[in-house]
Symmetry: C2
Subunit: 378 residues, 2 copies
Amino acid sequence: MKSFDFTCTKKDKHSFARSGVIHTPHGDIETPAFVPVGTQATVKSLTPEEITDSGTDLFFVNTYHMVLRPGIDVIKKFGGLHQFMHWDKPLITDSGGFQVFSLGAKRFARKNEDGQGEASLVRISDDGVTFKSHWDGKEYLFTPENSMQYQNDLGSDIHIAFDDCTPYPVTKKQAEKSMQRTHQWAKRSLAAHKNGALYGSIQGSVYEELRVASTEFITSFPFDGFAIGGVSVGESKKEMEQVLSWVTPILPQDKPRHLLGVGEIDDIYTLISHGIDTFDCVQPTRLARMGIVFVDNQKVDITKIEYEKDIHPIDDTCQCYTCKYYSRAYVHHLFHVRELLGYRLATIHNLFFVNALVREMREAIGNGTFPRYNKERR
Amino acid sequence: MKSFDFTCTKKDKHSFARSGVIHTPHGDIETPAFVPVGTQATVKSLTPEEITDSGTDLFFVNTYHMVLRPGIDVIKKFGGLHQFMHWDKPLITDSGGFQVFSLGAKRFARKNEDGQGEASLVRISDDGVTFKSHWDGKEYLFTPENSMQYQNDLGSDIHIAFDDCTPYPVTKKQAEKSMQRTHQWAKRSLAAHKNGALYGSIQGSVYEELRVASTEFITSFPFDGFAIGGVSVGESKKEMEQVLSWVTPILPQDKPRHLLGVGEIDDIYTLISHGIDTFDCVQPTRLARMGIVFVDNQKVDITKIEYEKDIHPIDDTCQCYTCKYYSRAYVHHLFHVRELLGYRLATIHNLFFVNALVREMREAIGNGTFPRYNKERR
């Protein structure tokens, strides 16, 4: 057995949905799987044990944030992020490309595509991207080569090729130029890559011709899996579904696919039915910290006065730690008085809820009941 | 066996230190014991399981805060605080008297002893205290009778008689008047008390004559234990020790003593050597949230740059969850980027540290080695 491998265990007959297992040096990931985001080497407020207890197999960390704080040299001293943050299960890092986008989003609008605009914190060239850190003004260079080096030093199980994450909205011409750069960077990423599995990154914005071209180009290289990028940057949910409908049918069946930055509660059925294996999203944990908890696929604001004396758990049917031991009234009280435990209890619940929802779909695929699941739950 | 009882298991031969067990309906408390403060029905950032794992037997909640938020009626719906906050071990509540002090501290200085000062949020009379809530301006009345009713509704194992917590500094005449009021309120507390153990409250400020008189008066009533109040309001550590030297030798040997609001790391040996059984203090948890952690009885600021790359645990010899799995560098990083997990990990360590320190002293008393312990550690 290779140290990294994907086994598809079942394909749905009525959609592109599939279930499977990704094998990594740090254990298996049952797919489809939701992937919580630990931006700064922590899934906000939780310990790794709580993340695991919520049903999580794979943890997502942003390379960009690690480069800034604490710095790659700190994590190298520990032999990698696993040891640094006490996580011994599979780990995925991104390329840093999305943060290029976040900081340079307006580059086309400002007509400083090649980074000459003086207001921008970012300069993009064919070689790579120069950032000014948003918190101390220090300058950093990201290239395919050092993104690969960073991810290698972080020791994640799954790395992502350095890409130029295309902003939105964008003209087709601009999107094509950005895609071409992603393709050049993909080849350089592959050449520079050392350990760990490497996923190629597919761009092309909302243009069918470009998405198809990008998929064909990227899948012609020996990547271990594929990441679909640029779908969380402002498109409508309709456009997101269109992109998936162009890309996933022509992806190789024997390799895993990750959808970057998408996975709100009402996206999950759609992306799984299009054959996505793993997907990361901050929504469940971010909403939790605002006091928004999931109950039966709905968002409930636990800070509302109506929950002040509610002795029931957030969700009567939920098996999470929060619902086992605490009432809505207690969680409401903690948010009301801004106690840290409130953020934790809500985060534990939301993460458990999303993982349970995805597990339910995974099992439905396995049982051949996914279309029925669709009718009942959608 | 009574539902509440105290057994003294060992007395030190060279000091007033003693070890013992307080039996309560929710289990035993091995004494001497540190008592963490869960002001708002939560020991900030921790779950009850983490509090227990840190070696804590007894949890302290402020009645005043419960009255304001979430309100006693909410907690009554749950049948008490134990159920509300998922804590099934012993629980102690205070009378609300200390908050009278906190809000009305300057009452003597302002010459509005009887509550006529217009700037004050509090009006004190022989009947009781009228508060204006510091957060919504709503008015609340605290009397011995309703303090007893509140604590009964909260369902704590140990209640404290409603007292007039004497401010500091104070003239002897003012301290005596305040003490007399505490004594009248003690009798009314005893008459109004229903369930749970009730501790009488001893006041008298820094005046030997008054402290002795208060101890003699309060111990002449059938309280289940005694709380020493007014020692955390601004006196020096020297004065604190003097107060203990007057009071504890004349307390009954067969009943437990609680010292209210004292227990900084360098107070602990002193108060235990004076025969205190339990004591509550916010210092270990409050310092933790500022990034100050205990290492070998010293305070270490983990946010300092020197810990940025330190791969060692906070304390190599510590058995707490934080020291088992995390480095100084990781905790430093979490504080640096203001991640919630940092507050948790530091709080877990500090609470474990204080409980271990007190357990060490408890065992030294049991082994007859407390004076040696003193020489080595003080």
